[in-house]
Symmetry: C2
Subunit: 598 residues, 2 copies
C-alpha cells in the first residue's frame, strides 16, 4: 500500500495514494504544485549548493554534516510522486555506498565518532523512509537495494551496543521497513533504539540531554521536551514500536505526553517549539508569538505523530490537531508559487519582513526564502505533500473514515466515493457514492463546528465533535452531506499563556487568521480590537475578515514603564484579517495573530 | 585619579576612589564582599579551570578563545581594590608576552586570523583597562609595562589597516590609556577603530553584521542593536572618542541611540538584551520577561555608558538609568554570599530553579552558579564593585554632585562630606559637612520621588526630578537633608511591550520587586493581583511588600485556546513581594516581576 505508515494493527487501517486521489482544491492544488514545482526546486538548489555533488565525490565536501538526509527526503518525495527524476538521483546515491552498506558523505573516514551530533543514523533513517516509499509506490529497484544494505549495516553495527543517534528518525524508519519487508530484525533494532534512549545512551552536551530526549527513558517521560523535531520524530518511532510489539503501556505513555504537550506547549496554529537557541519546546506555557520557533519540520513531525496515534486509537482528537497543523503550519511554509519557504513560523512579526531570493543563513528573518543553510523544511514539505492524500482517510472494520476534507476520490473495498467541497472556504462536504456496498461512512466533525449537520437519505441530523457516521447499503448516486458552520470565532488564551495575555485571535473553520500590514500599513503595534462579529469578504476563492478595531495615536519615545495605565487617543478603524497561511505573499509585511483587546 | 573614566572635558569631572569612600551599607557591604570574597572566588575558579595556567604555558590550552580577558578583568578588579594578589598574577601574565608586545594564549601561532570571532583586540582592551586601573590606583609597575607594550603593538599593527575586532572594548580602553598617559596615538587608534566600524570592517557572519555593530557606521545608527554587551561597550568607546576629540555630532548620535534604546529595548530592571540565541537586543518592544537575557555584563556595560554620558552632559537621566541598573541588575547577579552569580537575569522563572555548585555550561538555567564556561559576568562584577565608589559622585564647576546614595565620605577641593543614609530601604539622605567652603552641593532626585524635599539651614523645600542644589558657605556641622518618599508604586507597561500586557509590577524607591515562591509555593502561574496599595514589612534591614491577590483554581489539561474567556474560581490571598535583587537566595524558587492583573 502506497502510504508512509502501514501498521499491522490498530483501530484504523490506512488508505494509500492508490486509494485516495485528489482533485483541484486547497490540498489538491498544493500536491500538484509540489509535483510540478517544489520537487524540482529542491533538486536544483541541492545541485547548486553541492549537496548532491557530495555523493559524486566532489571535493571539498559541501553543506552541513547532515546534508545527505536532504537528498533522501527529496528521494522520498520523488518516490511518492512517482517522479521521473528518481532513478538518476538514486543512482548517484548508490555509487557512494560502501561495500558493507555504510553510506555517508561526511563521516566515511571517521564512522560513528560523533553520535551526539554526527547525524549518521538520522541520515539512514531518511534514506530508509525513501526506500520504503519506493518499495510501496513502485517496487524493488536500485534505491531499495541500497536501503536494504544500509539497514542491514545499521543492524549489524548497532544491535548489540548501547548506542543511538543524537537525532531520532531511524526508529520509525526501521519499523516501517519491517512493515514493508517483514524482516523482524528491523523492528528489533528500532525497539532497542527506543528502549536504550534515556538510560542514557549518549554523551552529555551543553544544551543538556533533554535536547535529544536522552534525559529519561521514553516510558517515564511526562511531556515532549527538548528539540521539537527530535522529540516528535522519536515519538513517531515509539508509537510504531508500541503498535508492532503490542506494547499498550508504551503507547499510553506517548498518548499522555502528547496530551500534556498539546495543552501546554503548542501554539494556536498547532506549531510546536518556542525557543530559537536550541529549537526546543521550552517550558509549559512558554509560547511567545514573536519568538515562536514553530519550525515547519516540527509541524510536519506533529502531523506524522498525530496520524500514527489516530490509526492506533481512532480518536478524532489526533485528527483535529493534525488538521490545525496542516492548514496553519504545513500550508504556511511554502509560498503560493512553491519557490520559497518559511523555516520558523512565528505568530507575530513587528518589523516589515522582506522577501529573500537567496540562501538564508539563519532559520529565521525576513519572509520565505528559496533555500537555507540547513534546508530540512523545503524537502520535508516536498515529501509530506507528495504523500498527503494518504493522511486524509482511513478504513475501519465497517467502512471508510474521512478525517480531512478535500475534493477527490476515495476507494476502499468496493466503495468508491467522490468528495466535493470548497473546504476550508466553504463548510459543505458532499460525498457522492460512485460504487457502493453496505457499510459505514464516517466523517470527522471538528470540535469548533457547533451546529454541524449530517444529511443523507432525505434526513438531516445534528452531529457533534468526533466522527459522524452514516450507515447504509450504499448505491451509486447516494449522497451524504456534512455541513460544518464556518462562522468566524474569537479565541481567547488560557491565562497561563503569559505572552498573549489580553489578546484574542480569530479562527474560521480550521484556519487561524492574522492581521497583515503592507509595509507597516496599518501599524499593527497601534491596533487594538473589539471582539465583535467579523465581517466576511469572499474574493478569489479566499475568505478574508474585517474586525472592528481602534488605532491608537503614536507615542513619543520615553521610559515605557509608568505609574499610570498608558492612555492614548483612539481612532475607530476596520482591520482586515487574512488566513495565516497566506501571509507574506504580497511583499514586505508585518503580521500578528494575537490581537490586543481594546 | 583612581577612576575608570577620567575625561579631559565634560560638564562633570569624576571623583575617584581616593575621593569617595564607602561605609557599611547597601553598596559598601558589597564592595567589601567583593574585596574579601568575590575576587578570590574568581581567581580560584580560573586556576581550577586552567585559564591562568594558559599563561604559564600549560598545555593543552583550556577555556574559550577569549578566556585571557577574564584574567584581565580580575586584574582590573585587583588594581582598583589594591589587592595583594595582583603582582604575582601580573607576573604570570607578563611571562606570556612576546617580544613585540603580542600577548594572547590562544592565537600566538595564528595571529589575527579570525578578527570576527578571535577576540584578540577584545583581550587587549581588558588588559589595557587593567593597566589603566593599576596606573591610576598604584603607579607604574610590571603590569603597566606589559600594557604599554601591548597597546603599542596594537597601534603598530592596526593603525594603517581597515580592520577591527568582532567584540568592541579596545576603543574605550585605548582612550583611557591616552587619558592616563597622554600618548596621542592611543586616542588616534581608538578613533580609527570607531570610524572604520560599519564601513564594514569585518567579514559577514551567520548572525549578520548587526551582531557586532558592523552593519552601519556608528554615526548613522539609530539604536543599539545586535549583541548587547558588544553594542554597549562600543558606545562607551564612541563617547570617549567624541569627548576627547570634541566631536559633538558623534556624542549626539550616541545620545539619540541611547534614548531610543531606553524607550524601546530596555527591561524594567534596566537590563538590556532580549534574545538568547545571539545575546542581542532583539527588536523594539521585544521584551519577554521569561526569556529576557538581560546579561549581567550588559547591565554593567549600560552603567559604564550612562556614567560616561552623565559626565559629558550632566543630564540626570543617565544617572537615573544607572541607578535602576545598579540596584536591579548589578546587585542581582551575585548571591548574598558572593560565591555564585546570575549570568542572565530574567524577569520570570516558571519552573522552580535549583541552586548550582559547579560550572554552568550555559549562561542560563537554575539559580546562580559559581562559575560558567564563559565566565565574563563574575569577573565583570568584581571589577565593577571594586571601582563602584567612583561612579557615585562627581564635581561640577561649583562643587559636588552626588548621583547615588550610600553611607560614606566624599572629599573634593576643600569640601569633606559625610553621607548618612539607609538607602534604598529608607529615603532619608543626610549630608554632614565635615570640612567646608563656599560652593554648591547637588543631590540627585530620582524621577519616581514625587514629594521629595531638601532641607538645610533651617528651611525645607520641595524638589523635583534632576539635581536639587544647595548653595552656601559650608561650615563643619552644617547638614543637608534629602527626603525621598519611598511609597511602593504600581507600574504599568507601554501598550507596545506585548509580552507583559495585562500585568503590573511594583517598585519602591530604586528597587524593582518580584513575587518569589519557595519551591512552587505559592504557585505563581495561578496568581493575579489587585493593584491596591502594598503593605510594607521591615525585617532584617530589608523591606518586603504584601499585595492583594487572587489565587485561581488549578486548570485541567486541555487545548488552551477557547471561545470563552477562561474562568476559574478565585481565592483571595496576600502575595509577598521581595526586592528583585534578593530573589533566589533561599533555595529552589519560581519568580515573576510582572504580575497579571485580576
Amino acid at each position: 500500500m502506497a502510504s508512509p505508515v502501514v501498521p499491522s494493527s490498530g483501530v484504523l487501517s490506512p488508505l494509500g495514494l492508490d486509494a485516495v486521489r485528489l482533485a483541484p482544491g486547497f490540498w489538491g492544488d498544493r500536491v500538484t504544485l509540489n509535483r510540478d514545482v517544489i520537487i524540482a526546486h529542491c533538486q536544483e538548489w541541492m545541485e547548486r549548493e553541492g549537496w548532491i555533488g557530495n555523493f559524486r565525490g566532489t571535493r571539498p565536501r559541501r553543506g552541513r554534516e547532515f546534508s545527505d538526509s536532504e537528498i533522501y527526503k527529496l528521494l522520498e518525495a520523488m518516490a511518492w510522486a512517482d517522479h521521473p527524476a528518481l532513478p538518476e538521483l538514486a543512482a548517484v546515491v548508490a555509487r557512494a555506498q560502501e561495500d558493507d552498506g555504510y553510506l555517508n558523505t561526511r563521516w566515511s573516514e571517521a564512522r560513528y565518532t560523533d553520535l551526539e551530533w554526527g547525524h549518521e543514523l538520522y541520515c539512514y533513517g531518511h534514506l530508509i523512509q525513501a526506500g520504503v516509499a519506493r518499495l510501496r509506490a513502485h517496487g524493488e529497484d536500485e534505491l531499495t537495494g541500497v536501503v536494504r544494505r544500509a539497514a542491514d549495516h545499521v543492524c549489524d553495527r548497532f544491535m548489540d551496543t548501547t548506542q543511538t543517534c543524537g537525532h531520532p528518525v531511524v526508529e520509525m524508519a526501521l519499523v516501517e521497513l519491517y512493515r514493508a519487508t517483514g524482516a523482524e530484525r528491523y523492528l528489533e533494532m528500532a525497539r532497542r533504539f527506543v528502549e536504550r534512549r534515556g538510560l542514557p545512551a549518549l554523551g552529555d552536551i551543553a544544551f543538556g540531554r533533554a535536547y535529544f530526549q536522552d534525559d529519561v527513558p521514553v516510558r517515564q517521560a511526562q511531556v515532549f521536551r527538548g528539540h521539537a523535531v527530535r522529540a516528535l520524530y522519536l515519538a513517531c518511532g515509539v508509537v510504531d514500536v508500541a503498535v508492532e510489539t503490542g506494547d499498550a503501556e508504551l503507547l499510553k505513555a506517548v498518548e499522555a505526553q502528547w496530551e500534556r504537550t498539546v495543552a501546554r506547549r503548542t501554539h494556536l496554529t498547532g506549531g510546536m517549539g518556542s525557543r530559537h537557541t536550541d529549537e526546543s519546546f521550552g517550558e509549559d506555557f512558554e509560547l511567545p508569538p514573536d519568538r515562536a520557533y514553530s519550525e515547519t519540520c516540527a509541524g510536519i513531525a506533529s502531523i506524522m505523530l498525530a496520524h500514527r496515534l489516530l490509526l492506533a486509537t481512532g480518536d478524532a482528537r489526533y485528527a483535529d490537531l493534525a488538521e490545525r497543523t496542516m492548514f496553519n503550519v504545513l500550508a504556511t511554509s511554502p509560498a503560493l508559487d512553491g519557490r520559497s519557504f518559511f523555516y520558523a513560523n512565528p505568530l507575530q512579526v513587528r518589523v516589515p519582513a522582506e522577501p529573500s531570493d537567496g540562501v538564508n543563513h539563519a532559520p529565521e528573518g525576513g519572509l520565505r526564502s528559496p533555500w537555507f543553510d540547513v534546508s530540512c523544511c523545503p524537502n520535508n514539505i516536498a515529501r509530506t505533500l507528495a504523500s498527503l492524500p494518504a493522511y486524509l482517510a482511513a478504513a475501519d472494520g465497517e467502512g471508510v473514515r474521512v478525517h480531512h476534507y478535500a475534493p477527490g476520490e476515495i476507494r476502499h473495498d468496493g466503495l468508491v466515493l467522490r468528495v466535493e467541497t470548497g473546504y476550508p472556504w466553504s463548510g459543505r462536504v458532499t460525498v457522492h457514492v460512485v460504487e457502493g456496498r453496505a457499510g459505514r461512512i464516517s466523517l470527522r466533525v471538528p470540535p469548533w463546528a457547533a451546529g454541524a449537520t449530517l444529511s443523507h437519505g432525505g434526513t438531516s441530523r445534528p452531529v457533534g465533535p468526533g466522527y459522524a457516521t452514516a450507515e447504509g447499503d450504499w448505491r451509486p448516486g447516494d449522497e451524504i452531506r456534512l455541513d460544518l458552520p464556518l462562522e468566524p470565532r474569537w479565541i481567547f488564551p488560557d491565562r497561563r499563556v503569559d505572552a498573549v495575555r489580553g489578546c484574542a485571535a480569530v479562527e474560521r473553520g480550521p484556519l487561524v487568521y492574522c492581521a497583515e500590514s503592507e509595509g507597516d500599513d496599518p501599524p499593527l503595534a497601534r491596533v487594538a480590537v473589539d471582539p465583535t462579529p467579523p465581517v466576511e469578504h469572499h474574493a478569489d476563492g479566499v475568505v478574508e475578515l474585517d474586525v472592528a478595531a481602534r488605532l491608537t495615536s503614536a507615542a513619543e519615545d520615553a521610559w515605557p514603564y509608568t505609574r499610570d495605565h498608558p492612555r492614548a487617543s483612539e481612532e475607530k478603524v476596520s482591520l482586515r484579517l487574512v488566513p495565516y497561511h497566506r501571509w507574506g505573499n504580497r511583499g514586505p509585511a508585518t503580521m500578528r495573530v494575537w490581537l490586543p483587546l481594546a
